[in-house]
Amino acid sequence: MKMQGKIGHLGRVLIGLLGLMFAQTTFAVGTLSGTSISNDATVNYSSGGVGQTPVTSAPAVFVVDNMVDVLVAEISDSAAVVVPGQLVAGFVDPQILGFTVTNEGNTEQDYALAAVNLGDGANVPFSTALTDSNSATSTATNFTMYWDDDNNGAFDGTEPVVTFLNAMAADETRRVFVLADIPVGAVDGAVIGVSLQATTHDSTSGVLDALTTETVGADTPGSVDVVFADDFPALTSTDDGAMDGQASDRDAFLVQSAVLTIVKASVVISDPFNGTTNPLAVPGAIVEYTITVTNTGTAQATTVTIADDLSVEIGAGRIAFTSNQYGVGNVFDIQLDINAVVTDLTEEGDGDQGVFAANIVTVNAVTLNPGGVATVSFRVTIQ
């Protein structure tokens, strides 16, 4: 087992530390590859008290090699919130996963891009770590990457779809947005971890050029050789290796959805014999049905329709819908209560949210925030 390394790698670390400490000129790009570095020394002297012609050495020359170093960094320190069934076409800023890709080497390069699911149990290293809860129904598909070509940091929907970044100059940084199709079956709270990986390619044309490979064995003096100098990803060592010409970082989608529960209850309001005092469920008694819908999820539920089909009971002649039970003067027929805000509705299809038609009580267009409770009440008379 033979280990070999150059002291220069330690040098880079030290420079990095110095940069942090003094914030001086940062060691950002480095001398471009192909640069010829020449050095010569001159000696002045005299002999026998007489100054002699200075002598200059032949120059010692070497050519700077290609230091391949790429960094991928996730931008926001939080997951992108999505809903089940969200498609790539349905994304709006800032739901996207944002990454920067930086050429930290000293040569223009192309970078192939790939976004992959992390899988069950993978850690997404935000400052508050999230754990990927991938399952068969929460693995994103159709990963689509966009280059933020106007560099405004926002997903405008006008960015070009890319599979690689072309001709990135030394020290250049580009922003990449990753979108994906979120499965319909993804459950509320699911974390879909995603790794964006960049792989270094040569840059000689407008398309993705050949994979850049490290020069094996001895250097070829006078020519530009390739040295991989990239590190492991910041907090994981599994997504890509060090010194492999690749870089990656992780981000995550957080699935939020509304989760609705529904409960129906009834209470006897009055009967013809006891009035409202201890009324009994006898023919002629008025019974109030209460349908309670609760959003136990983490996303707002919109356009919720709450319907109760009474056609069987009414058709059998057991109950009859009873109007004019709510509101001042008892002129309303259905009552909607959302988080203790009461709205009285009519049974006619007259534009409000309530309608009683075809023996079905319906309340439309209910919006329910996470934790919200909506109650629909109406009354029937026992036949």
Binding site: I37, N39, V64, M67
Partner: protein, 168 residues
């Protein structure tokens, strides 16, 4: 007979030696200094017994951040001593001097931050900014390195000067 032959041989050798000396010295009765520069990188290896071995090999695979060691070798190939021997070496473009690494046996080492117009010890060098403010020079400010030999360089003597630089 044998003794005689030996004397002859001894005389001949003496004459030959004298002849050779005069042959070398005749063209220039002065000190003649030859100088060479090499650029190397330090390779640290672990050998079979687990010992760490450091060796120099010619700089060829060099990327930003790497250290390059320059060695200036000089020798007096003349017949007379060379006096006031001063070696100067500009810090190559794209390289920066690594503090404290200039080395040269029997030499006083000084530095320049203005392309060799003025020289000083590290603590004497001050960088004046465009706004007139001053700060102590740091290694990356150095433009040139100079070795002044304290003694004459005798005929046949050789010496070296060495410093380290980091590729920017």
């Amino acid at each position: 007979m044998k003794t005689f032959n030996n004397k002859i041989i001894a005389r001949s050798l003496g004459l030959l030696a004298l002849f050779l000396m005069s042959f070398v010295a005749t063209p220039q009765e002065t000190g003649v200094i030859q100088i060479q520069t090499s650029a190397d990188v330090e390779i640290i290896e672990t050998d079979a017994s687990g010992e760490t071995v450091t060796r120099l090999e010619p700089a060829s695979k060099v990327v930003p951040g790497d250290i390059v060691i320059y060695t200036v070798s000089f020798s007096n190939t003349g017949s007379e001593p060379a006096e006031n021997v001063v070696i100067t070496n500009p810090v190559p473009r794209h390289m920066e001097y690594v503090d404290g690494t200039a080395f040269g046996p029997g030499a006083d080492i000084s530095f320049s931050i203005d392309g060799g117009q003025s020289w000083g010890m590290p603590e004497e060098l001050v960088v004046t900014a465009a706004d007139g403010s001053e700060r102590p020079a740091v290694a990356s400010d150095y433009t040139d390195i100079r070795w002044i030999l304290r003694n004459e360089l005798q005929p046949g003597a050789q010496g070296f000067a060495r410093f380290r630089t980091r590729l920017q």
